[in-house]
């Protein structure tokens, strides 16, 4: 009987891929919980702590979606995904949102049936090497062995960079970031490469972090952002505007601490965002207070950045490109109106 059931289930899965992808918003509301594809463990972006509580910039993006859709930032189930498996998990409907430091590229946007909803972290690829090697620039890495994680843009950028600079490289590829870092730590490679934010995070996990430095070169553009399935415009809008709401909130000075005061604000921009004026939440298929819940429960973009990767975190990464546009960075959100 069990076998018959499993055959039926398998057939049902094969024949029912499409129906799963059309009404994600309704499904999430009915289910009462958001399935979020997260990293298997990257400090600052998605990492379960000793109590099993997930923390990170990507993780908080998912929480913000849950706050907007379900009114409760804690109604998220995090599914840890390797770089290799992440797209299949999203395509097949196992997760509703993929927020897993994933680089937005043209082929992923067009060939994989995904839509990137925005950029929650502007990153670039760098190299981590041992201080003892006395290397000051990535251009000195000719003939070096480099450990890298498989199935990433990193793997391709690495090959491109060495080819463009007429250098040779010995690439050693591992299925997970964990294995790649371990191999680097045990001396299998001269360098480890990934997005710069990841380098700072992984360095903390090495046996002696002080013996390693991040080289100054940033060899690629890595706009990281959440992605959803192609073909569900309503859900695409919800996830896209969740991120915009967080950025707008920072710009308007709304924080998780002052939401109650801000509700009394007379500024039309603030009133529109927090739902005291207009019906912008309803237009998205959400409640009136969607943005209020995001900011109240999760925080604005600046708070989330600071707490997970910025000055308030062990990583202490400079905001750099991720400053608001009004402060010389690239984070810019269209207005709510």
């Amino acid at each position: 009987m069990k076998r018959v059931l499993s055959v039926v289930a398998l057939t049902a899965v094969m024949f029912a891929v499409q129906s799963a992808s059309a009404q994600t918003l309704k499904q999430v509301k009915d289910r009462g919980i958001l399935n979020c594809g997260a990293n298997t463990g990257l400090a600052g972006f998605g990492l379960p702590d000793a109590q099993g509580k997930w923390t990170g910039l990507d993780v908080d993006t998912c929480r913000a979606v849950a706050a907007a859709v379900l009114g409760d930032a804690n109604k998220v189930k995090f599914v840890p995904l390797s770089a290799k498996d992440r797209f299949t998990a999203l395509q097949s409907g196992e997760v509703d949102v993929l927020a897993r430091n994933t680089t937005w590229t043209s082929s992923r946007d067009t060939q994989l049936g995904l839509n990137f909803t925005g950029v929650n972290y502007y990153d670039g690829q760098g190299f981590l090497v041992r201080k003892a090697l006395k290397v000051n620039s990535a251009l000195e890495l000719n003939e070096a062995s480099v450990c890298v994680q498989q199935g990433t843009t990193t793997e391709l950028n690495l090959a491109d960079y060495f080819r463009a600079n007429n250098m040779k490289v010995k690439t050693v590829t591992f299925a997970s970031s964990d294995e790649a870092v371990k191999a680097y730590d045990s001396g299998r490679c001269d360098a480890f490469t990934t997005d710069a934010s990841g380098l700072y995070a992984e360095r903390l996990r090495l046996a002696t972090p002080g013996d390693h430095i991040v080289l100054p070169e940033i060899i690629s553009k890595e706009p990281l952002g959440p992605a959803v399935r192609h073909g569900d415009d309503q859900w695409f809008d919800v996830v896209k505007w969740t991120l915009f709401a967080m950025i707008n909130a920072e710009e308007l000075g709304i924080t998780s601490k002052n939401t109650d005061e801000m509700l009394k604000s007379t500024s039309p921009d603030v009133r529109r965002l927090l739902g005291s004026e207009g019906a912008f939440g309803e237009q998205l298929g959400l409640g009136k207070d969607w943005a209020l819940q995001i900011v109240k429960q999760v925080g604005n973009y600046g708070e989330v950045f600071d707490r997970n990767v910025g000055a308030g975190s062990p990583l202490k990464i400079d905001r750099g490109l991720n400053k608001l546009w009004s402060k010389g960075g690239l984070q810019y959100a269209p207005p709510v109106r």
């Binding site: 891929v17 062995s145 690495l158 491109d160 294995e179 192609h230």
Partner: protein, 396 residues
Amino acid sequence: MSTELKAGSPPASVPFYNDPKVRSIAYQIALCLVVAGLIYGAASNAIENLQRARIASGFGFWDNIAGFDISQTLISYSNTSTYGRAFWVGLLNTLLVAGLGIIFATILGFIIGIARLSKNWLVNKAATFYVETIRNLPLLLQLLFWYNAVLKALPDLRDSVKIPGGIYLNNRGLFMPAPSAQAGFGFVELTLLVGVIGAIAYRYWARKRQEQTGQQAPVFLVSLGLIVGLPLLVFLLAGMPLKFDFPEAGRFNIAGGLEVVPEFAALLFGLSIYTAAFIAEVVRAGILAVSHGQTEASYSLGMKPGPTLRLIIVPQAMRVIIPPLTSQYLNLTKNSSLAVAIGYPDLVQVFTGTVLNQTGQAVEVVAITMAVYLTISLVTSFLMNVYNSRVKLVER
């Protein structure tokens, strides 16, 4: 045959749908239609869904530029090669580790299997300990163990172990001088070919003569002379047309020469040692399956223990050993896909790993990979079946 058909054809009173022959054919046709319909339904549905979700499909990716590097390549490959080329690199890496693994596992397995039958207490117990430990631990754990053992135990690049003859050993691998053939080496290869053919011919002649006259010929010595001695002589006469490309220590790595990466070594160790434990049991069972009476009968005919083992016991044991041995070979080949855990670029790591991820075409890539493993396994078991039909007991 035709008379039987006539006799078996039903009398007119039985309707055709009660004819067992008609029924069985009808059932089979119906089953085929259902299976074909299911496959067609699943395939067309999958294609339609992929298109609707705007996920690329088809095999057009095969000729696109791969853009990534692979750490071990048996054929020339660079990051400007195509995905198709990457597939062949992965396939050859799989075949290399599986082929060498089968050879090592067989040798080790036969030794351990025979050792388990030894009357020497220590040898016997050591072999038992080996089998019981190795075959009861998961292979994945053993691979991780070997990989970490290789990486941790070997010295850092700067403290490489230098072995005389230009060999370096460190945690980046084993670096050896690579032989490269110079002009005139073709003669040596030609002589080797002639030697092998000559040795086969001589063996055939010697056997015929022994069957007719009973006289034995020194087959081993003559074969050795033909296969090793003759080419060596030509090699020396041609002025040793072989140059060695020595590895040299660079700033980061040792460049040039022949390189054995630690991922490969760990995988080969792990697979050989693991499978050898199973082969040892197969061998032991095979030898025990030959009744002791055969040995006694052979001795009573005046044969010595050596020829008794070679001509009486082993040929009879082989027919018991071959079928389960085939399964072990197939297991080893398929287990080589665990390479993905330790970063050895085999077919699964390169093709269903990186290529799948960069192209996003999971259905096609996985289908190709499954077809490849199926083909490798079917070819292996076909060859083993051919060998089995040659050694099996001929009933007269």
